[in-house]
């Protein structure tokens, strides 16, 4: 089984985003960038499917291809995935911050070329908080989708996915090929070891241009402005529970 894992380069999750004073966006100059945390989980699961771990038999996956759409530096994100164990990478270079619809169309073109049996994506990128690309890719391919995976079992050409949903857990069976998006509890991603980082340097990254795929990536949304949310100011420390209860009564919430 061949697995395709789309990975996005985003602001590091430890960094608090700051809005630019001209309200055109978020200031990313000199900000630490990393692989989207959900995508690390997707890469980890793919590596486990290939190498075997817990309920995954070794060899369930035979090849892992990672793909990133973004600026030249997104190669670093791909390298990180290769150091975690992915086999090869594709960078579709774009200086524009493409919308989920455009990303999904490019990924569909990659799927048409690579013919994976499974596409494993993060459920959400932590910059745009869209939670959209996986579902959109599934629609464009007309493939089954199983989002928000907390557990994944591959057997007999079917992905059995336990999904984290409002109210609890739901398990679906998706015949392959399918699109699965991953949630936080699926696994804990590994740190790449030094030897594996060295090995990753020799792995292939094919660099492509958006134009190579012949899809319409025009923006449909125009960002009119990006502003700061209303600030909450710190309140007061109270001495004890009795004082707290009296304050809450005065505030009318008890």
């Amino acid at each position: 089984m061949k697995v395709l894992v789309p990975v996005k380069r985003v602001i590091d999750y430890n960094v608090k985003a700051r809005v630019k004073s001209d309200q055109t966006g978020v200031d990313l100059a000199n900000v630490k960038m990393s692989m989207n945390p959900f995508d690390e989980i997707a890469v980890e699961e793919a590596v486990r499917l290939r190498d075997g771990k817990e309920h995954h038999a070794a060899g369930t996956a035979t090849e892992i291809v990672v793909v990133s759409i973004g600026v030249t530096q997104a190669q670093e994100t791909i390298r990180t995935a290769l150091a975690m164990g992915a086999d090869r990478g594709i960078l579709i270079q774009s200086d524009a911050d493409l919308e989920p619809l455009a990303v999904a169309k490019l990924l569909k073109a990659v799927v048409d070329e690579e013919k994976p049996d499974l596409v494993l994506l993060g459920k959400q990128s932590i910059d745009g908080d869209n939670n959209a690309v996986g579902q959109m890719l599934a629609a464009l391919l007309d493939w089954p989708q199983a989002t928000f995976a907390g557990k994944l079992v591959i057997a007999d050409g079917t992905a059995t996915v336990t999904r984290e949903v409002d109210g609890g857990l739901q398990t679906l069976a998706a015949p392959l090929p399918a699109v699965v998006t991953v949630d936080l509890r699926l696994n804990t991603p590994r740190y790449a070891s030094l030897p594996n980082i060295m090995k990753a340097k020799k792995k292939e990254i094919a660099v492509k241009a958006v134009a190579d795929y012949g899809v319409d990536v025009a923006d449909r949304l125009k960002v009119l402005k990006v502003t700061e949310p209303p600030k909450r100011s710190a309140g007061i420390k109270v001495a004890d529970a009795a004082e707290l209860v009296s304050k809450l009564k005065t505030a009318g919430v008890l």
Binding site: A17, V19, V26, E99, P100, A104, Q124, I126, D127, D129, N131, A132, V133, Q135, M136, L137, A138, A139, L140, D142, P144, Q145, A146, T147, F148, R163, V165, D166, G167, G168, L169, Q170, T171, L172, A173, P175, A178, D183, L184, R185, R220, K222, V223, L224, T227, E228, P229, R232, A234, G235, I236, K237, V238, D240, A241, L244, K247, L248, A251, V253
Partner: protein, 310 residues
């Protein structure tokens, strides 16, 4: 312009997330229809018909729609899309699951998790864990939008819309339902509760989490939430997670116990009216957003709080 709201169905009724989404829809147009999908959706359709301001309720009733699976929901909604300029759903896990699929099938850019309707084509949505608000204008002929329920008031009851059967379209190849494991609770739903008490990593075990949080929640009539760390460690079910990638809540009162206040957690609760934090570290970031803070061990502070509440 006509707007279709996809209801968040709860058995024989619809959740108040539906009423809130109707409010967002009414900000776009007076012509708002509600679609209720499911296997045996009639009672829920009748409930939706009572929402004030609704023009018509469409009932898509089929065994194929029983679990709101994305493939089936998308096929049916796409079949109805010709009659609408905008399609809205609450940003529940169901809505997040099927709305982008609908958008891509219609070749439309979805707009996720809006908190404000500026005009018929312009919306505000949080990005970067709520640390920035983006105002976007859509050039698509049709809008496909998920609505953050906590940002809108619920449309009132008192309507009497007509109910029509909607055409159910077969999805073809898709995933199939296997099983579900829902968390049973007599407490209010996290998203709708007036008071939420949330526990973090400090609670240390599932037993301790329940021993501390449950009696407090019962005393306050509150829902129980948790940080990611508490859920990851198995102290609380996944459904309890409050935050950027969990549930967004905005109750009148939010009490965070043993939660540090990471940006991802704040993203899910900072719009609460009053925030209380109990944390033994006076420098915990949660205190920067808390209206009232108690710097103490929860093992001391929570029993005292129980006593003070009487």
């Amino acid at each position: 312009m006509a707007v279709l709201v996809i209801a968040d169905r709860d058995g024989d009724t619809v959740r108040d997330t539906t009423h809130k989404t109707v409010t967002a829809a009414l900000a776009l147009s007076g012509d708002v229809d509600v679609l209720v999908l499911g296997d045996g959706a009639k009672a829920a359709a009748a409930a939706a018909a009572k929402i004030k301001g609704v023009r018509k309720v469409l009932s898509a009733d089929s065994p194929a729609l029983g679990h709101q699976l994305a493939e089936a929901v998308a096929a049916t909604v796409v079949g109805l899309a010709a009659g609408y300029d905008a399609i809205l759903s609450p940003a529940t896990t169901d809505g997040k699951n099927f709305m982008p699929r609908i958008a891509a099938a219609l070749d439309v850019a979805p707009i996720s998790d809006i908190i404000e309707v500026v005009s018929t084509d312009t919306f505000v949505r949080p990005i970067y864990a709520g640390n920035a608000l983006e105002t976007v204008q859509s050039s698509d002929g049709k809008k496909v939008i998920t609505v953050r329920p906590t940002a809108f008031t619920a449309a009132e009851e008192g309507g009497s819309a007509a109910i029509e059967a909607a055409k159910v379209v077969d999805a073809g190849r898709g995933a199939s339902f296997v099983s579900e494991e829902m968390v049973k609770s007599d407490r209010p739903e996290l998203g709708a509760a007036k008071i939420v008490v949330s526990g973090g990593r400090a609670l240390g075990s599932a037993e301790e989490f329940h021993a501390v949080m449950d009696p407090l929640a019962d005393k306050l009539g509150a829902a129980v939430g948790a940080s990611r760390a508490a859920v990851d460690a198995g102290y609380a079910p996944n459904d309890y997670q409050v935050g950027q990638t969990g549930k967004v809540v905005a109750p009148a009162l939010y009490i965070a116990i043993g939660i540090s206040g990471a940006i991802q957690h704040l993203a899910g609760m900072k719009d609460s009216k009053i925030i209380v934090a109990i944390n033994k570290d006076p420098d915990a970031p949660i205190f920067q957003v808390a209206d009232f803070g108690i710097v103490a061990d929860y093992k001391v502070a929570v029993p005292e709080l129980m006593t003070a509440l009487g």
